[in-house]
Amino acid sequence: MIPFTYVKAKDTHDALQRVRDHNAVFVAGGTTLIDLMKLDVMTPSSLVDINRLPLDTIEHLPDGSVRIGAMVRNSDLAHDQTVATRFPVLSQALLSGGSPQLRNVATTGGNLMQRTRCYYFRDTAYACNKRQPGSGCAAIDGYNRIHAVLGGSDHCIATHPSDMAVALVALDAVVHIQGRDGERTVPAGEFHLLPGQTPHLETVVQPGELITYVTVPKSPFAAHSAYVKLRDRASYEFALASAAAALELEGHRIRAVRVVLGGVASKPWRSPEAEHVLNGATADEQTLQAAAAAAMKGATPHRHNAFKIELAKRAIVRALKNAIQSTEEKQS
C-alpha cells in the first residue's frame, strides 16, 4: 500500500472541499477500497473519511417513497422493517451480499461504487483496461467463468458485483449526487456505465462528486418483489447469476413488471425483452420461461461461462415465481 494522507470530513460541504486534491478519494465503509489498496489496484494519495457525515438515516416520506442516506449501512437498511415489508427485493438483495460483518460497515453509497471481482482487475500482474486503460483485457482469452455474457465489449467483460444495485434498478430508484455546484439526480438504471471502449469509467459520478441519498419511489409492484442469487456456495459469495423481479398482478394477469439481472452483465441489467413478454400476459409457467429466454437471447458466452445463460434463466423464473407467490400471500 502506498502512503496516503487522511482527513475526517465534518459535513458534506467539508467533504466536497477536501476531495479537491489530485487522486483523493472518499472512504466510507472501506470494504472495497482498503481491500483494493492492499492489492495496489487502487492507489489514492489522500483519503477523505465521510463516516461522520449526517447521511445515515432511512426516512419514510409521506408520499410513500423512502429516502436512504448514502451512509446507511447495508445491515441497517436490510433489517429496516418498513423496507423489508414494502421493498422486499431490496432487503433480500442486501442480505445476500457479503457477510454480516461486511454488511455492518458497507454503505448504500459505497455499495453502488464497488468494483468488479474480475481476477485480472484485482491482480496488477495482468493486463486490465479497467485498471490501466489501454493495457488490454486478460479475461477475454483467459479464465472467464465468472465474467459477463451481457453488456461486455472487446475491451472488458467484467461483471458488476452488487446485489443491492440490481434491486434498486428494479425499484426505479434514483441516486442523488452532490457536487460543488449543486445536486443532480440519476436513475439507478443509468448510474452505471457500459464498458465500451472506456471500461475504466464505471459510473456517472465525476471526480469530486459525492453520493448523498438514494430515493426509492412508491410503486404498485415494489411490495411484490423478490431477489434470487445463484452462486458457488450457499452464502458469502458473489453471484454467478442473480435476478430481481417485481410485479403487479390483476388476477393472474401481469399489469406491470420489472426484471433485472446481476452477476451476468457489465452493469445491473434490466431486461426490457423479458418485461415485454410478461406485460399484459398471464403469469403461467410458459410465460415465465418465455420471458427468461427473451432476456438471455442476446447473450454472448465466452469460453468458460456459457453455463451462465441457463443459470440466469432459472434465476429469472424463480425470482418471478417468488414475487408472484408474495402477491398471492398478500391477497389471501
Binding site: F4, Y6, I34, N51, P100, Q101, V105, Y236
Partner: protein
Amino acid sequence: MSHEERNRRNFPPMNANTGAATMPDVDAQGASHIQASDMVMQSVSLRVNGTVRQLEVDTRATLLDSLREQLSLFGTKKGCDHGQCGACTIHVNGRRVNACLTLAVMHDGDEITTIEGLASHDALHPVQEAFVEHDAFQCGYCTPGQIMSAAALLKEPCGPEDDDIRECMSGNICRCGAYPNIVAAVKSLRNRA
C-alpha cells in the same frame, strides 16, 4: 534478545506499522519508489476493551495490525487479510466487523472489543463457555473470530432455524470444518435466551 527468547509473539513484526522503511511498496505500474519519509503518521485514541489507548499509527495500518502489533492483542487473528474469512472479527461500537478491512486511523474515539475483552474478570463469556462445552473448534485459529461473531449474532435479527444460524455465521470460515459443533454451541445459547 537471545535466540531462545524469540517466538512468534515477540519476533520483530514486519507490517504496515513498522515495515515501511525496510519493505518499500510498489505502485500500480510496479515502480518501487516509496521512501520511509513518505510514511504518514497520525494519532488516534481507541477505547480497547474498556481502556483508552493513545496510538501513533501509520495511516495505512489496519485496525487488525494495530491491535496485534502495537497493542499486543494477538487474540484477533489475521487469516486472509481481505475480508473473506472472518478470523479478524471484532466489535466496533457493539457491532461485529472485519478488523482487516478498516484502518486504525478511522476509529478515533470508537469502542473496540476483542476476544481478550469478552470475558469478565475470571468468568468466561457464555459464548466462550458454549464453545468449550460443544467442542466447537479443532485447530482454534478461526475461534476468536467465530466467538466474536456468535456473541454479536445473539443481539442481531436472525431467524429461528439452524439454517439461519449457518447463514448468520457464514462470514466466519473454519477450515477444520467444526461447523456442526459451532452451530450447536450457538443454538444452545439461543435456547437459553
